[in-house]
């Protein structure tokens, strides 16, 4: 077994390197799934009616089935799956993909892999160690989710084990997919992109299968079509926890994981260290005119990220429009939402829902702003900024090119969200509804000043000290997205909400459009930006 010599040592190294990142991702997955369970029980556990209305709206909705899966009857377990399963699967899939590529391909890319392999380390040891880390992480996620679920009386049964195992097994499968793509591409991003594309295909096939499923006679359950069986993500759903508790889809997932891992070992034996099955294609010998100039480079660095987010915002827009429409169909007469309307101002029900949900969504999607502004920090921490500023490029111009691009991205993403929402809403509803496409579009764009202010605050931190950008950005992001719910739960003073720019976005439509916060936030953003530019010009760039 010389091939595996040193595996345990490398496993310890990998765990040591991931001692922060892995626990954070595990906490995110477990916190999301485990944290939602008691909340769902609290909302739906007491009344059979709430569950019934939830399920009866989820079953006929095609979009519902795409994102919530094929619902299995009116019980609280069905609600749990519909609410958390998909997002939970995505988190652990991404975690597994990144863990494996980080400890295999990325090591080879940086040269650390060569150094490791020159030691007393078997040829298969690095890949084995990476896979073991992923299996361990998924096992921990599964056990923790199981542990939290059984602590909730409604979920204290064997089904919780199937639920947790279905998630963990899918994570392990995606780790094995990543093991294969790490052999195919010669750089980590390429390998990750391939693995994420595979995840996307799994999702689309499963979504197609579930949306083509057959609705049961009682209208409260859906049987997935055979197409869902073509997707390993479908297998995960088809475990049917809290309904059928099937074991064999889990076995299928683990079997396929083993087969793919074997294939990864085979591919690895066919290639040299550092090379890959598909080596990098050569690029152009000359730069095209699009790449030249400050904006050309900024566009090149930013466009991939923006494109991905545009797709995300588009999906979010469709989703929200359809959810609103589903809500209308289900709840228009319910007392809960009569209260909701009266508390959230004038206007009709749909306007209120849109006016409440778009700013919330804009706050959640402001993650785009952090990823875009972080590109500046990447340029600085990698030292490439030294090449750039060593030319006749002005610091102000460089910074404004990224800020300007991000601002353009903010408007574009929100516009896409608004337009997608408006189109989806109008396709989904009949002509009797009172919400126009323009209202939906404007409601989305009303968040532009808040997001711009959010951006300039992050730019300010970058101008202060670049290495704080990501930590501050994500911290501020979590604060802004959670504060309004947190200070309701913990009865914190209201001013804690004021610190979030998104709190000040006017509620539109539904109330008369309030220009004051728009103007105040826009002016503040300009001031913060001017100060940031001045500070950035004044500070040293941080170099090794």
């Amino acid at each position: 077994m010389d091939r595996f010599t040193g595996t345990l040592r490398l496993l310890r190294l990998a765990l040591r390197r991931d001692r922060i990142r892995l626990p954070v991702l595990i906490a995110l997955a477990v916190g999301f799934v485990g944290g939602s369970a008691p909340a769902i029980v609290e909302t739906f556990g007491g009344s059979k009616e709430e569950i019934l209305s939830y399920i009866s709206s989820a079953v006929p909705s095609v979009v519902g089935r795409i994102f919530q899966g094929a619902v299995q009857g009116p019980n609280v377990g069905s609600v749990l799956i519909a609410e958390v399963f998909l997002f939970g699967l995505f988190i652990i899939a991404i975690m597994s993909i990144f863990v494996v590529s980080r400890h295999t391909r990325h090591n080879e890319e940086t040269g650390a892999g060569e150094l490791i392999s020159s030691g007393i380390v078997g040829r298969s040891a690095p890949l084995t160690a990476a896979l073991l880390v992923a299996v361990l992480a998924n096992a921990v996620v599964g056990l923790l989710i199981f542990g939290i679920l059984v602590s909730v009386p409604e979920f204290n049964n064997g089904s919780s084990a199937y639920f947790a195992a279905a998630m963990a097994a899918f994570g392990i499968l995606m780790a094995s997919v990543s093991a294969v793509t790490a052999q195919l591409s010669d750089y980590r991003r390429g390998a990750n992109l391939m693995a994420i594309s595979v995840l996307g295909v799994f999702f689309v096939i499963r979504a197609l299968g579930d949306s083509l499923g057959k609705i049961g006679a009682d209208g409260l359950s859906v049987t997935s079509s055979w197409i869902s069986w073509l997707s390993p993500m479908g297998w995960s759903y088809l475990v049917l926890p809290f309904a059928a508790d099937r074991l064999f889809p889990i076995v299928m997932l683990l079997g396929l994981s083993a087969a793919l891992s074997g294939f990864a070992y085979y591919l690895m034996s066919k290639r040299d260290i550092g090379s890959s099955i598909f080596n990098s294609k050569p690029g152009p010998a000359r730069a095209s005119s699009h790449l030249l100039g400050t904006m050309g480079l900024t566009h090149r660095l930013q466009k991939g990220n923006l494109t991905a987010w545009l797709v995300g915002y588009g999906v979010a827009g469709v989703l929200i429009a359809v959810v609103v429409n589903d809500f209308r169909a289900t709840f228009e007469d319910s007392d809960v939402f009569a209260d909701f309307i009266t508390t959230s101002g004038n206007g009709n029900f749909m306007q209120s829902v849109i006016a409440t949900m778009f700013p919330l969504l804009a706050a959640m999607l402001s993650a785009y702003v952090i990823t875009a502004i972080s590109k500046m920090q990447d340029e600085e921490s990698s030292g490439r900024i030294e090449y750039l500023l060593g030319t006749a490029l002005d610091k102000t111009k460089w910074m404004l090119s990224h800020v300007g691009y991000t601002l353009m991205g903010i408007v574009a993403t929100l516009a896409v969200m608004g337009v997608a929402g408006a189109i989806a809403y109008n396709l989904a509803t009949d002509s009797t509804t009172s919400l126009s496409g323009i209202e939906i579009g404007l409601s989305a764009l009303a968040s532009v000043p808040a997001m711009t202010l959010f951006m300039t605050v992050i730019v300010f931190v970058f101008a202060l000290r670049s290495r704080f950008v990501k930590a501050f950005g994500w911290g501020f992001y979590v604060y802004c997205t959670l504060i309004s719910s947190l200070n309701q739960i913990f009865a914190w003073p209201t001013w804690t909400s004021y610190l979030s720019p998104f709190y000040h976005t006017p509620q539109y439509p539904g109330a008369t459009f309030d220009w004051l916060p728009i103007i105040v936030m826009s002016v503040s953003a300009v001031i913060v930006l001017i100060v940031s530019v001045a500070m950035f010009n004044r500070r040293d760039i941080s170099l090794k």
Binding site: S280, P282, P284, L292, L393
Partner: protein, 300 residues
Amino acid sequence: MSTNIEIQNLVKEFGSFRALDGLNLQVAEGEVHGFLGPNGSGKSTTIRIILGLLKKTSGQVTLLGQEPWGNSVELHRQLAYVPGDVNLWPNLSGGECIDLLGDLRGGLNEDKRANLIERFDLDPTKKFRTYSKGNKQKVALVAALASDVDLYILDEPTSGLDPLMEATFQQYVLELKDQGKTVLLSSHILAEVEALCDRVTIIREGKTVEQGTLRNIQELQRTNFTIESKQSAEAIANLDGVHEFEQSGDKASFEVEPQHLSAITKRIAELELTHITSHPPKLEELFLRHYDHSPRTKKQ
């Protein structure tokens, strides 16, 4: 001859750490100036202050007649810079990196670009991340040298080049010198400095410890002796013109200033010698002395 770079008493502090502590450097127009010092002695920091990328704490810095901090954009049009860390955009090709940096510098000379790519034998179609260390360095070099400027600031530009490419680089710098261009060359390759540089500045711990032409640096005029004798050579240590005396067992080594050479050799001849070697000084020895952190062993 005018001065392109003039630094007097430069101090740079990073928090409580004093990276530069009264550094002096003068680079005249049309010269190739060697800038030497051990790792972490402040070479790159000095260069970055010259370029206006870092802000000095105190002292005088003039680049082409101007204070660089705040005027860097205008100044950078007149110079080309190769940083020590070669790290460009991993997913751009080498050719794209060269064109982009050239464009940002205000345009590059097409003939030079083609010529340099050929001479350095660089494949411009490879993605930057796939280049080896030496080839990455070539991309950075071509990007800088293809510009039509009068001042080149090169921070350890050749540490990864093979001997053939090193020779190409030296040839190119000599051509620049013939054209009257100015080059500030920070380097660890002493043969390169000896071959190219008119004058050198040696720094240590943020201070200038030596500057001048290679011929004028006093310690480079000395002759090195190693002798073996049954008798003690200690007496030589105290003579005028003897430096760096070290005795271990029968062996003694020391350096002698040129004007004391005949007097000292007479004294050496009086010893019962079993072995003697003598060789001209090398930059390397000067270096080893300055780079060595232990206190000097010189005896007066």
